[in-house]
Amino acid sequence: MTIPPVLRLVVRNFASNLDPLTVLIRFGQPAITIIVLGTMFSTIISSGATGGGSYTAFLVPGMVAFQMITGGVVSGNLFWLDRRWAMTEQIFSGPFRRSEYLGGLVLTTLLFALVGVGVMILAGLPFIGIPALSPLAIGTVLFTVALGSIFFAGLLIALGSRLRSANAYFTIQSFLQLFVIFLSTVYYPITSSTPKLLAVIFYGNPLTYAADTIRDAFTGTLGLGDLVGLGVLGGLAAVAFGAAAWGFRDLDLGPIQ
């Protein structure tokens, strides 16, 4: 049986670029955040401030949403390293289409994000128990993370297809990652006392829509607002993926630093 090229590329992505330490850090960091930040903040933040549950119960869906960044960063970095070490050129000179390589990256992102979702729920188990998710809620969580992952992967791949310096790429990537997380509702909700400017910035951030939708899925309060949020996320994912695909059309395969 011949394995389709995209799947061969996905296997190669996992086998060749994801060393155990990287995987441990990528999943361990948000898991530790749930355990430490959740425990510590639960003791000082009242349940009223986080919608009735503990702070950990508020944080877990946020960290599930955060997996879209984890997945996106993984494939952004994979692509960058492939460019840096001429593997993009090597693979493009082989029996693959550029679209298949891009598809392989996206699929790697999705799989990584999916595993991340599972790890975050496992990390939250001792604190919030097994979340009572309906099939619709499970589907919504996975779909949201998938859209968010495609958005971040697309954004970073588009960026990586244009930049020629590792320093520039990783600086921008870290900057984006940091600000996207802090300027979202992953760690805290937007309330009536949130400064207007910050609220506007928060709602300009796709992670906010993902975190809010996943939180609603966890609490069984999915509504029209979440549909709008998914629409926004879907639109942004399409734009970012389009930018990445555009970047592949005339990708400069020359040496980069």
Binding site: T2, I3, P5, R8, L9, V11, R12, A15, S16, N17, D19, L81, W85, A86, M87, E89, Q90, I91, F92, S93, G94, P95, F96, R97, L253, P255
Partner: protein, 338 residues
């Protein structure tokens, strides 16, 4: 080498910007089982040519058909029948052994075949000591050997090698060239770029010399040397001293036949004389020279002709040409069929 044409380029060219041609008017053929060398100075257009042939870079003018497919539209179906050893180091971050089997997997080589082929490559390219090391722990030569070995993990009909022997020691180089020569005898066609002219001489059936994006000559190494290696030194020693009259006669006759700077010295090894001169196409002069010696009743103790080298031919062909200043309006390629 068969007469079947597997690659045919016609007026192929690529301009990185309007008017900035890296390659222009490239027309050549490659036959099944043939090894074609691409020689030229840095920036001559060799890598651009390889990238066009391997569909990594679309030509901006002209056409090329490889294995019956147009390089613009052949896409994956075409690339599936090619192999490419890039000039740049291309590496995956797993051990050498895993790299080889993973690359085989990527190309759809069955697992068992990939495993046995990896063993073969590890032995052939002397990578046993590097088997469990990751690429960053390899020396430059090991990385290069590994890169060639990895490309040979899958089946192909044409192999493009862009400076595959850079950084290799003489023994490793010889070993790889011998292996490649064997593969070409089995029908694998190759396009091979290098700056080491001696290895091009050893491996290539024909050589295309490029300069500033244009093909300057396309011929067998022997023909290139014959046509462009320039004047070579011929030295001969006689068992007896050469009388002045004969010396003058010889000098005149040699000059008539294109030789320059004939000198006569006492033979340091004996009582005779030795004569040295420089001449192009020395082999054509030798029959006359030996006849003249016999006619004069002289006896030769030694006759040597400086070996023509590809380096000499390369320098003779493009050594005096300017190396910058954009596209040169030079002549079209001279093709000499061996």
């Amino acid at each position: 080498m068969s007469s079947e044409v597997v690659l045919e380029a016609l007026d192929l060219g690529h301009a990185y910007a309007p008017g900035r041609y890296a390659v222009r008017h490239l027309s050549l053929e490659l036959h099944r089982g043939e090894v074609l060398g691409l020689l030229g100075r840095n920036g001559a257009g060799k890598t651009t040519t390889v990238r066009m042939f391997t569909t990594l870079l679309p030509p901006t003018e002209g056409t090329a058909r490889i294995l019956g497919m147009d390089i613009r539209t052949g896409g994956r179906a075409l690339r599936a029948r090619l192999g490419v050893v890039l000039q740049a180091e291309s590496l995956d971050f797993v051990t050498v052994e895993r790299n080889l089997t993973l690359y085989g997997f990527l190309w759809g080589v069955p697992r068992e075949v990939a495993k046995s082929r990896a063993e073969e490559m590890i032995e052939l390219f002397e990578l046993e000591g590097a088997r469990h090391r990751k690429p960053w722990a390899l020396s430059g030569g090991e990385r290069r050997r590994f890169q060639v070995a990895r490309e040979l993990m899958h089946d192909m009909e044409i192999l493009f090698l862009d400076e595959p022997t850079v950084g290799l020691d003489a023994i490793a180089r010889r070993r790889i060239l011998a292996y490649l020569r064997g593969r070409s005898r089995d029908g694998l066609s190759m396009v091979f770029t290098t700056h080491i002219l001696h290895e091009a001489d050893l491996l290539c059936d024909r050589i295309a010399v490029m300069h500033q994006g244009r093909l300057r000559a396309l011929a067998s190494p022997g023909e290139l040397k014959h046509r462009y290696a320039g004047a070579r030194e011929v030295s001969m020693s006689f068992r007896q001293p050469l009388p002045t009259a004969l010396h003058l006669e010889l000098a005149r006759a040699l000059a008539d036949r294109g030789a320059s700077s004939p000198t006569v010295d006492p033979d340091p090894a004996g009582a005779g004389s030795s004569v040295r001169f420089r001449v192009e196409h020395a082999e054509e002069l030798l029959p006359w020279l030996t006849r003249w010696v016999q006619l004069q009743g002289l006896e030769l103790s030694r006759l040597s002709v400086e070996e023509a080298t590809l380096e000499g031919a390369f320098l003779g062909l493009i050594g005096d040409l300017p190396d910058s200043g954009g596209e040169s309006p030079g002549p079209r390629a001279t093709e000499v069929r061996a």
